[in-house]
Amino acid sequence: MAKVEPGMEAMVDVYIFETTALLEQLDEILLRTEKANEFTEEDINEIFRIMHTVKGSSAMMGFENLQVLAHKGEDMFFIIRENPEKMTDVGFVYDLVFQMSDLFKAEIDMIQNDDDYEPTDFSDMLAKLEKGAKMLKGELDGINEAESASAAAPAADDTASAAAAAAPDCTTVRVFFEDGCKMENIRAFMLINNVKESVDDVEIVSYIPEDIESNQDSANVIIDNGFILSFRAPDVKAVLSAIESSLNVESYEVIDANAQKAEEAEQAAAEAAPIQQETAAAGSPAAPSAPAPAAPKPAEKPKAESKAPAASSGGGKQSLISVNLQKLDQLHDIVGEIITTESMVISNPELEGLRLESFTKSARELRKLTADLQDTVMSIRMVPLTGPFQKMNRIVRDMKVKLNKDVELVIEGDTTEVDKSIVDNLNDPLMHLVRNCMDHGIENTAEQRIAAGKPAKGTIKLSAMSSSGEVIITISDDGQGIDTEKVIAKAERNGLLMKPASEYSEREIQNMILLPGFSTNDVVTEYSGRGVGMDVVKSNLSKMGGSLTVESKKGEGTAFIIKIPLTLAIVDGMEIMVGDAEFTVPISVIKESFIVKRDQILNDTKRGEMIMIRGVCYPMLRLNEKFGLYSEVNDIEDGIVLLIESENRGICLFADKLIGEQQVVVKPFPKYLSQYDIKGQGLSGCTIMGDGSISLIIDVNNLIGSH
């Protein structure tokens, strides 16, 4: 994380969390409005509010570059907000704001991950945004010249009456902000908003300086002369108290005689805080010449904290809390231990043969409750796939513009829930696959599609469903499909073929595109074509225990099918014995288990024992030999054989006997053993069984690999 003042780390966490959420929300709104091709007033207000919160909190945290960036973005939407009905063509705004939000995300990522974070210079983007704002303004100029002078300032129609202090029923106040609170112009703007929000029927007549929204230097003017606000309201007192309660307001004074009455009423309240009036009377507070120290005072923290969540929840009640994932893991571990301990108690050998009616009853009760507890803890970690799926909207949108392809993204089953740790790792693989569909899958031009009898608009479908402990995610397009001839030719060129080209099945060829160093796109584009990607996707997925396959029909489209386990922490396993050691084989890889006759075994001098099953020859691995265990079962007819398959490779395991199926909680090997390569031996972890013994979990990929 970026270095911040001591004690501020927690604040930075909150800042990162909130800002990321807001930016995602921003993306979402932009995508939606762009699709609908219209901004509703609500959308604009929402965007404006997001920009504003981001700006405010960036300023609080002292990330000046971000704050200025958000400010410029806000400017643009200010113009739009003030003149919504006049907005006809705002297409360029989307590009600008998307770019801005990307810069923001990148910067926040740096703040989060870089120890020696240096603020990035955004001047390019700032210039672009400024230009964008000018363009918007220019558009307005044609329509309403009168407003052009100060399009960025609200209530601009009243420029002339800036000195409205003299207006009859007007109240004018001079407000001073806390010393060194920075961004006085923004504070002033927030003050106005605050007044508008908290008091009905208030009419802001004018304020000096007027250009608080667009001019950074106005901050210095406010520091020197205070911020002068004229307003008209039936309840002057309410407005004054709103001003008083606004963030960072140090003091204010009513400088208009007409409001004398209100001031008198205020006097009573002011007695409670006499310093305020005193400071005001003493004239302008000593102003720091340059805008401010790097970080806000600690005293501001609670305010900032309480403000931001309130803003982001949009007034609605939040029924969600964010919890540190580590704590959940801890909870999960403890629950696992409780379950193990429970079976140790209930099936304690000392209880054997005793008649314990009420004990048995209570034990049953306990078992039910612990099972509920486990389910609940598991469900806490489950999150819907909505997040990573929705992000793909953005990628499709960007590529659509860049590649000039008309494509629609259809999302199905995004409410399917998966373990949090898996969702976190899904973003990259999904992104690669969606890009691949956009770039390689969908035909280059609409004409090609029409010629092939397909609608001009391409479709990419992202769907998820869960089936027996696995989540199946399919990314499919209705594009040109995989050209197997091209693929095999390319594979040959790249030296990826292991046997004569004619011997490859269609499926094998299609799956070649997942090999490292393969890319059929002859031209390297910004998005794909470098030949990295697909193999990275595949290895990322297999790290999570998942798999990736391709199905394609030439001319009809391509589908990538991802299968991942629902959770990494619990495995449905088959318990097997080898000597006196117990092993767990994940059920998902077991194809079948059977007893073999001696004459089914083939002996190959080079590769050892083999077995022929339905025309396929599988190597036989005796687990006792592999793991150096003593076992009395050495005759192949006495034991049991498991056929396991993973990533299209199969192997037969020979064990003494099967014990049965069981859900086990996966535990990593103790830290002390991490210096040795146990994983390479084909073991992924261990688990504690109900009777307190330890069972080793077999990692099929490594086991096959090491054989």
Partner: protein, 173 residues
């Protein structure tokens, strides 16, 4: 020199000696002692989590011969090291006198299998002899200090070295 001054100096010296003696006799720590073969070894009490018999050990492939495998200590998976074979001595069959001492250092737990636990003794500064090199055996690098007790020399093991310095350094996760 004034006789008074001399007297004061003498008094001061006396006090100093007394202090030094106290220091030598104040208890520094407690050490749990046990046999590995005929030699008495010790581990400082703060490192000791608990002492159990030898539970069922699950054999794990791919680890050195002296790490016998992993055990379940109250739902925690802990590796066990046979100290006899770690120190290059001949292995002996485990009996009901054989103990596993669970030790912990910086969050890493390890069980060490010893022939027999003797008991706990207090350690004073005067007992500590800092010359481990006089024992010319290959358990040298694990010795923190020697204890010269009336009933013989005891070797106090350095738990941190035992845990972090197998033959290589522990790879941090």
């Amino acid at each position: 020199m004034d006789i008074k001054e001399l007297f004061a100096k003498q008094e001061e010296m006396k006090q100093k000696n007394l202090n030094a003696k106290n220091e030598k006799e104040s208890e520094i720590t407690k050490v749990m002692t046990f046999y590995i073969g005929d030699q008495v070894y010790g581990i400082e009490i703060p490192s000791v989590i608990e002492i159990i018999g030898v539970p069922h050990i699950t054999v794990v492939p791919g680890i050195p011969y002296y790490i016998k495998g992993i055990i379940n200590v109250r739902s925690k998976v802990v590796p066990v090291i046979d100290m006899r074979s770690r120190f290059g001595k001949e292995e002996k069959e485990y009996t009901d006198r054989t103990n596993t001492i669970i030790i912990e250092e910086a969050g890493v737990s390890v069980g060490v299998i010893v022939d027999e636990v003797i008991g706990v003794i207090p350690v004073f500064q005067k007992n500590i002899a800092n010359s481990p090199d006089r024992i010319g055996v290959n358990d040298n690098k694990f010795i923190k200090y020697l204890l010269e007790m009336p009933d013989g020399i005891k070797l106090v093991l350095d738990v941190a070295k035992l845990i972090y310095d197998g033959d290589m350094y522990l790879v941090e996760e």
